[in-house]
Symmetry: C2
C-alpha cells in the first residue's frame, strides 16, 4: 500500500465535515489510507492574519449558503449549529487520543464527532459529549475524556498545528498526496485524479 493521505481538518470547518465523509472511500479506491490530522484553525489564522470565513463582509453570508448547498451537492446532511464557529481544542485532542490508542477507529470517531456538531448541533467541545460519542462507538468514553487532559496529547495537538503551518496549511480541509497540497473539499475531484495518475 502506498503512503497515507494526510488530511488536516478542524471540527469548526463545514467543508472539513463534508470532506471527512468522502476522503476515506476516495483514498481506498486508490489503495490508500487516511492519516487524520486535527488542527486548530484559530491558531493558524492568528499566524497568517486570517479569520473565520463567516467574519468576512459579503463572503461570510455567501459562505453559509454555500456550506449548505455544498453539503446537499455531496449528499451529506448538514444543519448549521447555533454556536458557530466554536473552540475545538478538546475534540481535536480526543481524536489524537483515539489515533494513538485505537488507530483503526480514528475515521469513525472523526465522522461521529463532526456529525454530532454539523447534523445534531451537539456541544462537541464538551468532554462529557465526547465521552458519550465515544461510548456510542464502542470505545472507552471515559478514557477518551481523560485523554483530552493528558500532557502528551496536548503537546501532540500543538505540534500537529505547528507542523501543518510549516507545511503551508492555511485553511481546512487541507490534503497532501505525496506532498502535493490540495486546499478545500472542492478539490477532491483533483485529489482523485492525482491519485489515479500520479500527477497531471
Amino acid at each position: 500500500m502506498s503512503a497515507s493521505i494526510d488530511f488536516y481538518f478542524d471540527f469548526s470547518s463545514p467543508y472539513s465535515y463534508i470532506a471527512a465523509h468522502q476522503i476515506e472511500a476516495l483514498a481506498a479506491r486508490h489503495g490508500r489510507a487516511v492519516n487524520w490530522n486535527p488542527i486548530l484553525l484559530g491558531a493558524i489564522f492568528k499566524s497568517t492574519g486570517s479569520a473565520p470565513l463567516v467574519e468576512f463582509p459579503l463572503k461570510g453570508q455567501y459562505a453559509v449558503r454555500d456550506f449548505e448547498r455544498s453539503a446537499r451537492f455531496a449528499g451529506v446532511e448538514l444543519k448549521m449549529p447555533k454556536a458557530f464557529p466554536i473552540s475545538t481544542v478538546n475534540s481535536a485532542r480526543a481524536v489524537l487520543w483515539v489515533k494513538k490508542n485505537v488507530p483503526q477507529r480514528t475515521g469513525d470517531f472523526v465522522r461521529a464527532v463532526a456529525t454530532a456538531y454539523f447534523a445534531q448541533d451537539r456541544a462537541i467541545n464538551d468532554v462529557a459529549v465526547l465521552q458519550d460519542i465515544a461510548n456510542a462507538l464502542g470505545l472507552d468514553g471515559a478514557a477518551v475524556a481523560a485523554g483530552t487532559q493528558e500532557a502528551e496529547i496536548k503537546d501532540a495537538l500543538k505540534l500537529m498545528t505547528e507542523t501543518a503551518l510549516a507545511r503551508g496549511v492555511f485553511g481546512a480541509p487541507f490534503i497532501f498526496v505525496d506532498d502535493e497540497p490540495f486546499w478545500g473539499q472542492d478539490r477532491l475531484a483533483q485529489v482523485d485524479r492525482w491519485l489515479e495518475q500520479g500527477s497531471f
Copy 2:
C-alpha cells in the same frame, strides 16, 4: 429560452479565465445564454477590505500552484503572466463596448482577451493590444480601442461593478443562475446541477 446566466469576471483572475472557457458550453447544454459582465475586482476588494489572492501569506503561494493545476484539470492552457495582477480597466471597457455594439461576439472577445493574457502574456490593458485582438477576430479594432474612452462605456463599467457589489459579488468568477449565487470556477459542477434540476 430561459434567462441568461450572469457571469461576473475580472481579466486579472485566473479562475475567471478558466471558467470563461467553460461557461458558454455549459449554459448552452441547458438552453441558456451567458451575460458577460466584466467588473473591477480592485474596486470590490477596496469596499470589502480584501486583496488579490497572491498577497495572502501561504495562501498566495498555494494559489499560483492551484491556478496552474486547476487549468490543467480543466484542459485549459495557462502560463502565469510575468505582470500579475494588472489593471483591467481598458480590457473591461472593451468588453462592454463589444457587448453593446456586437453582442453576439462578446464571448469570443472575452475568451480571446483572457487567452492573450493567460496563455500568451500579452499586455491586455494596452488599447493597442486590445485593438489587435479585436482585429484578429474580424471586429473593428479601431472602434473597440476608441470605445474604451467613451463616457458611456466608462460609466457602464462603474455601474456594472457597483451593481455586482450590491448583489453580493466579492470575488470572481461569480455566477448567478436565476439569482442563485455561485462563487468560483470550482462551483461549475454545482451550476450544472442547478441548471439541470432548477435547484437542489
